[in-house]
Amino acid sequence: MSSRTGVFSSSVGTKIVIGLTGMALVLYLVVHIAGNALVFFGPTVFNQYSHLLLSNPLVPLIEIGLVIIFALHLYKTVRMFIANQQARPVAYVRKKYAGAPSRKTVASSTMIVSGLWLLMFVVIHVTQFKYGAEYEVDGVRDLYRLEMENFANPLLVGFYVVSMLVVGSHLWHGIASAFQSIGADHPRWTPRLLAASKILAVAIAAGFVVIAVWAYVHQAGRVRP
């Protein structure tokens, strides 16, 4: 604790790091879904938008930042999970939820599972899109075509839908929890924050599901994988 990095290893410092990195990742998801929604405006708009991103020299830097934030979130949560398990070596024979005002939910009890699922998902997702087939149209990368081809596969759409439900579950607890973790609490605003974060969790999950299913319905008939 006396060292500069040690302050983030304490049980409170760990929470602060997890909360801040979690917030940054949620922010990223909001930007991500807004960009994805452009797919509804057709290939030209969507590809122009993705070209704008791909040709921006700042984007690789942001990507590196994202990877670091993601890795930090993962590392701190896994380490905390292990330490927390060790804090109760003998389990209860019988243990029950204590009920209100506890915020415990299935989502909050499975954060490590949903989180690790999302790690697997992100690896697959990035492989399929960022490092997917390099089509070209009018001098820009045709990500629209790649997306439509990927989502023509019902199995893959199913995997994405499940993964987005997992995202929703992770955020159901995660968003409000991140605020509490950095010490943001207010008698009037916290109840509203709790509700708002659940709404945002559902909105993010539903948004991605709609895009994947729409792409499947829209293109499955025309493109053969």
């Binding site: 304490s10 049980s11 602060i16 927390n84 804090a87 243990k95 204590a98 005002p101 973790s181």
Partner: protein, 249 residues
């Protein structure tokens, strides 16, 4: 009333424990949970058997000694109640009741349902006090404290240090306990002087004792006999950040 009990028996700190079945007969619904255990123990003693060890002192909900997990919930099913204030009328004739000790690495079982909570004492000794000489009792209103602040400080000071928060938490975290003590002192003028040193050393001590971190589920608040809210934990985090800032870390 006739009740079936499943009670954790463990001969000593290093012995293996297990749930043992007992029948509690002719129990009055007006008895407290601990009085019911007294009745069971009297029968055991009469039969020359080893009585069930459990902690209690005041039996009126103010000392924080009693510490039983009843049917999977620390202090049992009633909200804002210690187990010594839980009454048998809360149960039905013929019920099966499981009784276990607090379970945490930092609270080792001494015998049966008795755990060693001296880890809490060491957290307090690390900084949960004021060492400035405050002299005799000051005149009323000599030190102005706004009513709202005094209320929050008083609510935090209601903590009796029973450890139910640790027992309920899936991480066996002591954050609610610590944060109540830290809040109580940081909110009042007398506690301000040492607030930064206090929060850093108390958190250090809790981590060293082997308590877990906090997942913001709030099971602790739900079982706390004094209904201390987890907003205290957020305040502790703010104190921690301010302390680091002040220390220039």
């Amino acid at each position: 009333m006739r009740l079936h009990l499943k009670i954790w028996r463990q001969a000593g700190p290093d012995a293996a424990g297990r749930l043992v079945d007992y029948v509690a007969d002719r129990i009055s619904p007006d008895m407290s949970f601990l009085e019911m255990l007294d009745v069971v123990n009297e029968a055991l003693i009469r039969n020359g058997e080893d009585a069930i060890a459990f902690d209690s002192d005041c039996r009126e909900g103010i000392c924080g000694m009693c510490s039983l997990v009843v049917n999977g919930v620390p202090h049992g099913p009633d909200r804002g109640t210690t187990v010594c204030q839980l009454h048998m009328r809360r149960f039905k004739d013929g019920d099966t009741i499981t009784v276990e000790p607090w379970r945490a690495k930092a609270f080792p079982v001494m015998k049966d349902l008795v755990v060693d909570r001296s880890a809490f004492d060491r957290i307090i000794a690390a900084g949960g006090y004021i060492s400035v000489n405050v002299g005799g009792a000051p005149d009323g209103n000599a030190i102005p404290v706004p009513k709202e602040i005094a209320d929050v400080a008083m609510d935090s000071a209601a903590c009796i240090g029973c450890g139910a928060c640790v027992a309920a938490c899936k991480n066996a975290s002591a954050h609610l306990f610590m944060s109540a003590k830290i809040s109580q002192l940081a909110l009042l003028p007398q506690g301000r002087a040492e607030r930064y040193r206090r929060v850093l050393s108390m958190i250090d001590q809790a981590d060293a004792e082997g308590f877990g971190s906090c997942s913001n589920e709030g099971e602790c608040e739900a079982v706390c006999p004094k209904e201390i809210p987890i907003s205290n934990i957020a305040r502790m985090t703010r104190e921690y950040v301010k302390a680091l800032w002040a220390a220039g870390r």
